[in-house]
Each structure stands twice: as structure tokens, then as C-alpha cells.
Amino acid sequence: MQNNLADEIQIIPIILIGISLLVLMSAAIILFFYLSRKKIVKTELEKATLQIQHQKEMLQTSLLTQEAERKRIAQDLHDDISSKLNIVSLNASLVKEEHISVAEANALGKKIVDITTTVLESSRRIAHDLLPPSLEKFGLEAALEELCDQVEATRKFQVQASFNYEEETLPKDHELHLFRIVQELLNNTVKYADAKTVTLSLESTQNTVHLQYQDDGNGFELAEGKKAKGLGLGGVENRAAIIGATMTLQSQPQNGMSLDLVKQLN
């Protein structure tokens, strides 16, 4: 009985302490779980917010680009089509008048034919600008070659192009994005760079498609260029993101600019 009592005195507190420690331990585990979870959820939330913000920016840039494009098309239609068709309409009304001589009618008719030819040419050019037929018919390489020829024809700078692209390595819509990127870069060089030479290369291997563009023009501060990306570089960045390519842009004032775009396949 003496022994029992002694054991009891020792064991009961040990069990009580043990249970208390287990209570503490489980409380610590539960607390650790909830705190970790809170932290993880917070980080995830921040990540998601950043992503949404980036998407919003992309969307805004897309909308701005779209609006600018619409404005340009509207301007082209107004300047090159509507105004000339007005003249055609005016001349056609004159032909209908009774007191007009045959010579005058012939002259008017010739004028109408001339203007109509110009209008047709303009509408063909506008359509070509919207979606180059060479891209559809002959592929990306041919379309880029044609684009380079057109730019070189302006004699503003020389284009050194090298293409080694296996047709249909990329889906058609991605090819159009690449074409638009080059178009935008050339536009920027024409408008702002005052460059002498542009180097352009497009290569495809089994695993990658690699586009390199470089001009030796005025260049710009990257921060400023990105701020003003509303129409130009923002669109380029968007298209690169859409096709899932990584884009590296480098530029310094008076040191030209270069863009490196790599699309991993599969």
C-alpha cells in the first residue's frame, strides 16, 4: 500500500504534465498551420493581384493600340478613298448634265477612270497594310522580305536581313504576331531612330524560334521608352507575351536599340 501510494504520487503528476505538454504541442501545431496558411494565402493573393494588374496593363495597351489602328484606318479611308470618291461623284454628276460637250464628257470620263484607278490602288494598299497577302500566300519569311523591301524603298536606312525559318514552325496566328512585331519595330525606327542600318534575323531550330532586331539609330532610355510604350513597345511586349516568347530589349541614347525574342517550342 505504501508502494502504491508512492507510485501514485509520482505517476499522476507525470501523466498530468504529459497531457499538458501534449495540449501545448497540438496547440503549437495548429497555430503553426494557421499562421503558415495565412502567410501563404497572403503571398498567393499578392501574386494574383500583380498578375491581374499586369493583365489590366496589357489589356489597356491592346485597347490603345486598337484605337490608334482604327484612327489610322479611318484617316486612310477618309484621305485616300472618301475624298477621291467625292470627286468621282462630282464628275459623274457633271457628265449627266445636258449642255456638256462630248469633249468635255470624255475629259471627265478620263478623269473618273484615273481617280478610280488611284482609289483602287489605295484600297489595295490599305487592305495590304491590314493583312499582307504575302503572309497568307507565301508564308512569314516572304512577308518579312517584302516588308524589308518596302522599308528599304524609302531609302531611309539599309536593312540587312537573314532568314532561316522553317515555314509553319509556329501557328499562323503566332506568325502574324511576329510579323506585326517586326512591322512595329521598323515603324519605330523609321519614325524616331534616324538609323543607317537595321539588322534583322529570324531563325527556327527544332526547339526555338529566334528573332533578332537591331538598329544603329538614336536609341532611348529604357525607362522612358517603356513609359511611352502606349502605342509602340507596349504592343510589341503584348504580342510577345501572347505567343509565349521571352523578350529582351536593350537601348541607350545614341547607341541604337536591339530586341531579342526567343520562343521555346513545346
Partner: protein, 213 residues
């Protein structure tokens, strides 16, 4: 009737209330919910049965085997549904075979408290609860209150159940033994409260608020 006795009765009443609450809209719920609700029904039945036997001073110790084996089966299936790991079923099967062998080899075991069986099954369930916590770290998991309750109660009661035979065999001063008994009851009360909170927050309305649970 002492305060302690009233508290004991309250715990039994609460376990019946919880079983009834969880049986509402039982059919509309997912598998995990159904397994847990079945566990609550089992607990309620055993609690009533035990207190009925206790009233007549009959030995109700054999019911503890149904309690811990039933608890292990239902909660294993509950965690199997939540964790989607086939090995949980293998462990369930292996443990049940082990326990059956234990009862075959030692049939007297049925009339004493199975401390090893109880501790082993509770430890396994605690591991499942920890794994479920880990799984729920990155997404809004269901049954988090219940899981908290299971982890809390099962860890803390392991030592109590492990020393149960010891209390029965030794003639202790009732007062000291009572402390441990009341402490265990308090922990069980916290568990029941957490189960109630889970029901109140997520399952008191007929529509299933958690689609995969």
C-alpha cells in the same frame, strides 16, 4: 448531482445533438461528410450505451473496443476521401487484421481496455490529420475545424487512454484520478465545440457549401 456529473451528462447530450445535426441533409452531402456524420452517430450510440450500463453499474468496458475500432474505420475513410491516398485503405486493412489477430490470440483483451490498439489507431489518425493540414496549406480546404478538433483531441487523449488500464488496476485516490478525467472531458468538450462550429459555419444550410466534401 455534482457539477462534474452534470458536465459528463452535458457531453453525452452534446454528442447526441451533434449526431442529429450532422444527420440533417445527410443525403445531399459528399462522401467525407457522410463518413464523419456516421462517426458521430457511432459515438452518440456508444456514449448512450455506456452511460446506460454505468447507471446499472454494469461493466461497460467492452464498448471501448467498438468505439476506437469504429472511430478508426470511419475517420480513416474520412481522411481517405479528403487525401485521396490509396495507402490509407491499406493501412486501415492491415491495422484491422492486426487487431483481429490480437483479439484471437488474446480473447481476454475484450474485457480490458486495449491501450496499444487505442494508442496506435489514434496515432495513425493524428498523422492523417497532419497530412490534411499540410494539404490545406495552399488552398481553402473543407473540414478545417473538424481537422483541428481531431488533431487536438486525439493527440491530447493518447496519453490518457494509454494510462487507462493503469487507473483501473491501481487503487488510486479518486481525487487525483478525477483531475485527469476532468481534463480529458474538457479536451473532449473543445473537440465537440469545434465540430459544432464546423456544422454551424458550413453545413447548417441544406445547400452543400463545399462541393468536393
Amino acid at each position: 448531482m455534482s457539477v462534474g456529473d452534470i458536465f459528463s451528462k452535458l457531453l453525452i447530450v452534446l454528442s447526441v445533438v451533434l449526431a442529429v445535426l450532422y444527420m440533417r441533409y445527410f443525403k445531399q452531402r459528399g462522401k467525407a461528410y457522410k463518413f464523419f456524420a456516421s462517426y458521430l452517430v457511432l459515438v452518440a450510440i456508444i456514449q448512450i450505451w455506456m452511460s446506460w450500463y454505468a447507471t446499472y453499474k454494469w461493466n461497460n468496458l467492452f464498448l471501448s473496443h467498438f468505439y476506437f475500432i469504429g472511430q478508426f474505420i470511419f475517420l480513416s475513410l474520412f481522411y481517405y476521401t479528403l487525401l485521396q491516398k490509396k495507402w490509407i485503405l491499406w493501412i486501415l486493412g492491415a491495422t484491422l487484421i492486426g487487431l483481429t489477430l490480437q483479439y484471437i490470440v488474446n480473447p481476454e483483451m475484450f474485457f480490458v481496455f486495449n491501450t496499444y490498439g487505442m494508442s496506435t489507431t489514434q496515432t495513425i489518425l493524428v498523422i492523417y490529420a497532419l497530412l490534411y493540414f499540410y494539404k490545406s496549406l495552399t488552398y481553402q480546404g473543407a473540414f478545417l475545424y473538424i481537422n483541428t478538433g481531431i488533431l487536438f483531441y486525439l493527440i491530447t487523449s493518447i496519453l490518457y487512454f494509454a494510462s487507462f488500464n493503469f487507473f483501473l488496476e491501481w487503487d488510486f485516490d479518486r481525487k487525483l484520478e478525477d483531475y485527469i478525467y476532468r481534463l480529458h472531458q474538457t479536451l473532449y468538450f473543445i473537440f465537440e465545440i469545434l465540430i459544432f462550429i464546423e456544422w454551424y459555419k458550413n453545413y447548417r444550410l441544406p445547400r452543400d457549401t463545399v462541393s468536393n466534401a
